[in-house]
Symmetry: C2
Amino acid sequence: MSLLVLGTAALDTVKTPFGARREMLGGSAVHFSMSASFFTKIDLVAIVGRDFPKKYIKFLNSKNVILTSFVIEQGRTFRWKGEYTGDLNSALTLGTELGVLSIFNPKVAEHQRAIKNIFLANVDPDLQLSLLSKMRDPRLVGLDSMNYWIDHKKSSLLKLMKKVDIYVANDAEARSLSKETNLLKAAKCLRRMGPPIIIIKKGEHGVLVYSDDFIFSLPAYPVEKVVDPTGAGDTFAGGFMGYLTKVKKINGNALKKAVTYGIVMASFNVEGFGVERSSRVTLKDIESRLQRFRRIACF
Amino acid sequence: MSLLVLGTAALDTVKTPFGARREMLGGSAVHFSMSASFFTKIDLVAIVGRDFPKKYIKFLNSKNVILTSFVIEQGRTFRWKGEYTGDLNSALTLGTELGVLSIFNPKVAEHQRAIKNIFLANVDPDLQLSLLSKMRDPRLVGLDSMNYWIDHKKSSLLKLMKKVDIYVANDAEARSLSKETNLLKAAKCLRRMGPPIIIIKKGEHGVLVYSDDFIFSLPAYPVEKVVDPTGAGDTFAGGFMGYLTKVKKINGNALKKAVTYGIVMASFNVEGFGVERSSRVTLKDIESRLQRFRRIACF
């Protein structure tokens, strides 16, 4: 089984209380891929400019990320600049440069159209719709978005929600789209918009999963030194979808276990800048942290 | 085994998006007792004025709360008036009338001095110190406080922390006292102030438990309709200390189970005004919600 992700590849400039990085490898689809690659073959659909450092291409290749539909186009790569202060729970965006993202028209190779598991990471919902329409017979489709699209492309987003199996949102996005403050009510409202499974990410407070048949609520893995939370949500989604793709089944138990892998992957992500920490862990590190998480959170 | 609690008994006037109540039964020690009474005999040490309604005395008696050291004094009962809006996560205090609380000098009967398990619910730390000094040979002492005492009676609070086994704080209090934003760091810092077990209540986000030997992080039980969160923290503490008193042991497993009972009791508390809901549940309701909580939160 393999997994295909559409989203952004970016050059991130980030400052946190623990340091700073200039133009490091980032983007929703990159964080997702890095995390999913521990569990499955991952096909990355994204666009970058000619200025995208070759070392990053080499790095992605070395992680078994398949770059067949990773387009290098004339122009500059999408850039994001942000800063975290205080408890590092939310980023202050200092600048965004769309670059080649503004001319992106995602395409996949003929053989990729048969891939059954798809994740539409955060990017313009019209691009997500366009990519999804090109897939032949999707079996499991996950969707992420952001407040900007909820505010500016709501009708496209709502159209998309009727076509996906899993909607992943953070708490602010879930509240904004549902207009409910209580997260359980918000999840129920999002469920009625289409997706049978709703996953609400609450940052340092963990994850709420809602479906007609079950609810899960899991805390985050407690991390003492959060160095850079950029990409934590995408890393969560990568672990989650990667695990589901690996085990080839979708039931309550598999979903719950997938969520725990997502939480563990996100906990590694926040311990370093960009993908510095999450790309260096081993399967043994992941399993050992999962065991510790079980001791911390199960009763 | 029995459990003794010192704290406030109050008349609460509360408004929330779901309605309002005037001068209903409240106070830290009352909420604690109501919850603990499901697990153990509970001795309530508090003061009220002559205006305290007889029906509330009758009610407490009917719940097997022992009122030997529940003092009715000339003067008015402590009153609190507050309002909750939005996501009901924090109360706006509209008024406080200390009444007889300002002349409170907590005493216990001779036979009560032998009680081994004690909870010092939120009240002036000097009263907590005074009560504790009267107990003969405490085995397990829990402590709660609030931001007001952290700001105004810090030295008494720090003195107290060296004498207790368990410190229970909400996230804002933990951050304020430790001057750490990361809650795991905050817990470690509070541990160094004395108490071997630190419990940080995060409201709708659950509970973090820290000791030298273990960490637990549990979500809250998901409640769709939070009617009135007043006393949720005290109700949590009552279930927690009540269960520990019942099982007569303190190890990692017992503590974890005690936390889950505390969470379940608190989830009932927030579903009604004051003690309206939490006082009406049955042991069967509690066990059945605990089973559901396990399905929701364990993996």
